[in-house]
């Protein structure tokens, strides 16, 4: 089967900075992939390009065989690293919004998760703490039946207990053929759910491997290997 995500010589240059240089990458279907790298390594740039929020300077990027556009947006569920929702909206407004625009959105699933996290559906985003807002965003994003989930720093702003809940939400909410790509530098937290890892450093891919392989070959955890590869 065709990979869900392909990058061919993908390059992004900002004035005075090369964010990604000549990235070649294939991500297969049905995997949970960790996009791991230190701050400023190009993780967010790559994810934003997959969503068409940034345009490549050079090279090509294909999602399900298509360049980012309406077709790919239908099947990609994206969690940005910032709060991007209208803060005057209530949870119910947001659920309706997602339901209106994404045909793969599962309303019942969303309400079920909100209820379990004790988030009231008539609460406005404005009145919520930063951590709660992040949970709301994640629930909305994970309530879609997408082919590719791109989660940019999904656990950065929440406490360890909520981290576990979020990670469990992720693994229990994607179907077999869907791929989840999680960008983070909190490796020990996500390690247990990952199938594959991509190490990215200074805009280049440093290593692509399955977690199993790392454990067998190097006899190390991903976290240990990361600290070794990215030693300062």
């Amino acid at each position: 089967m065709e990979p869900i995500l392909q990058c061919k010589n993908l390059t992004k240059v900002f004035p005075g900075k090369v964010a990604l240089s000549g990235v070649n990458l294939e991500v297969n279907r049905g995997r949970i992939v960790g996009l791991l790298g230190p701050n400023g390594s190009g993780k967010s740039t790559l994810i934003k390009m997959c969503n068409g929020l940034l345009t490549p300077t050079n090279g090509e990027l294909l999602v399900d065989g298509n360049a980012p556009g309406i077709e790919t947006k239908r099947i990609v569920s994206y969690l940005p690293e910032r709060t991007y929702l209208n803060d005057w909206m209530t949870v119910r407004n947001l659920v309706d919004f997602f339901d209106d625009f994404y045909t793969d959105f599962d309303k019942a699933k969303a309400y079920d998760m909100f209820q379990r996290l004790d988030i009231k559906s008539d609460a406005r985003l404005k009145t919520m703490s930063k951590g709660t807002k992040e949970k709301v965003q994640l629930i909305l994003v994970m309530s879609r039946n997408a082919s590719l989930y791109l989660l940019d720093e999904p656990i950065g702003g929440v406490d360890p207990a909520a981290r576990d809940y979020i990670l469990n939400t992720i693994i229990s909410n994607y179907s077999e053929n869907a791929t989840v790509m999680i960008s983070t530098h909190l490796i020990s937290d996500v390690e247990r759910i990952l199938d594959d890892i991509i190490f990215i450093n200074q805009g280049s891919i440093a290593l692509v491997s399955s977690v199993e392989e790392i454990r067998e070959k190097n006899n190390k955890s991903v976290d240990e290997l990361f600290r070794e590869v990215f030693r300062c």
Partner: protein, 261 residues
């Protein structure tokens, strides 16, 4: 999808405009009350309520402009753009939903401000006079031939087109401003003034050239109605072309050069 986007666009803006219109209506009514009582004892409250009324009219003008700009900038080019540009909708739909809502609110703000003045100033005599002059206007219109009706129609088209082109001018300036990495607001302002400057220069050059080459000589000796029609048609074409340029430039940038921070 345009319909859905438009629905949300109107929802997000109505919560600002509607209370403002309500406030305007209330102050108009209060002023109306003071004016009809017209007692010397009420001098101070009357002055206050009049000031409030004028302030709100000014506020509506300013806020309408600010929201027209802010909805495009904030909702598409800042954090909220992360949502709007990852929806499975076309760039056209995103721009058009903003544009249509902005046109609607600009018209609403104008009409409602106008009507509030009417509410304030109208008493029984004036009402009669207004109805009378409206009737006279209608009989006047009925007596005119097609050419005059056509001029009125053209004028309305020109006003609406100018509104659309004016809004698109703001959009394209912001789209151009977002192409630079830093100081995007300053760059947008710069783009706006630069576009204005280029248009001014082009227009002045054209007029001078036209005067020298006698391009408009044929207008000479035409009757005034024909002249007006001719000039309105020319103005409509120019505004429509400018509007189209703004629109397609905005679309091109948002589609091919999008670089959200």
């Amino acid at each position: 999808m345009l319909g859905r986007l438009l629905k949300y666009e109107i929802k997000s803006t109505a919560r600002i405009y509607l209370p403002l219109y309500l406030l305007l209506f209330l102050t108009a009514v209060i002023n109306k009350f003071f004016l009809s009582v017209n007692s010397e004892n009420l001098g101070i409250p009357m002055a206050i309520s009049m000031t409030a009324y004028v302030t709100i009219i000014v506020a509506i003008v300013v806020i309408t402009l600010v929201i027209t700009i802010q909805r495009f900038y904030k909702n598409l080019l800042q954090d909220e753009g992360y949502l709007m540009f990852t929806l499975p909708v076309s760039v056209d739909a995103n721009i058009l939903s903003k544009l249509l809502a902005a046109v609607l609110w600009n018209i609403a703000s104008t009409v409602i401000s106008f009507f509030s003045v009417l509410v304030l100033s109208v008493d029984r005599d004036m009402m009669g006079a207004l109805v009378e002059s409206w009737r006279e206007f209608q009989t006047f219109l009925a007596a005119q031939d097609f050419a005059v009706h056509w001029i009125i129609f053209q004028s309305i088209v020109l006003i609406l087109l100018s509104l659309v082109a004016g809004i698109l001018n703001l959009y394209v300036a912001m789209a151009i401003g977002h192409l630079v990495q830093k100081h995007r607001v300053a760059a947008s302002l710069g783009a706006f003034f630069l576009i204005g400057l280029v248009e001014q220069i082009a227009f002045t050059l054209f007029i001078e050239l036209a005067a020298k080459s006698n391009w408009f000589y044929f207008l000479h000796g035409m009757n005034p109605v024909d002249q007006a029609q001719w000039l309105l048609t020319a103005a409509i074409i120019v505004v429509a072309v400018l509007g189209a340029i703004y629109y397609f430039a905005t679309k091109y940038i948002l589609k091919n050069k999008l670089n959200l921070e």
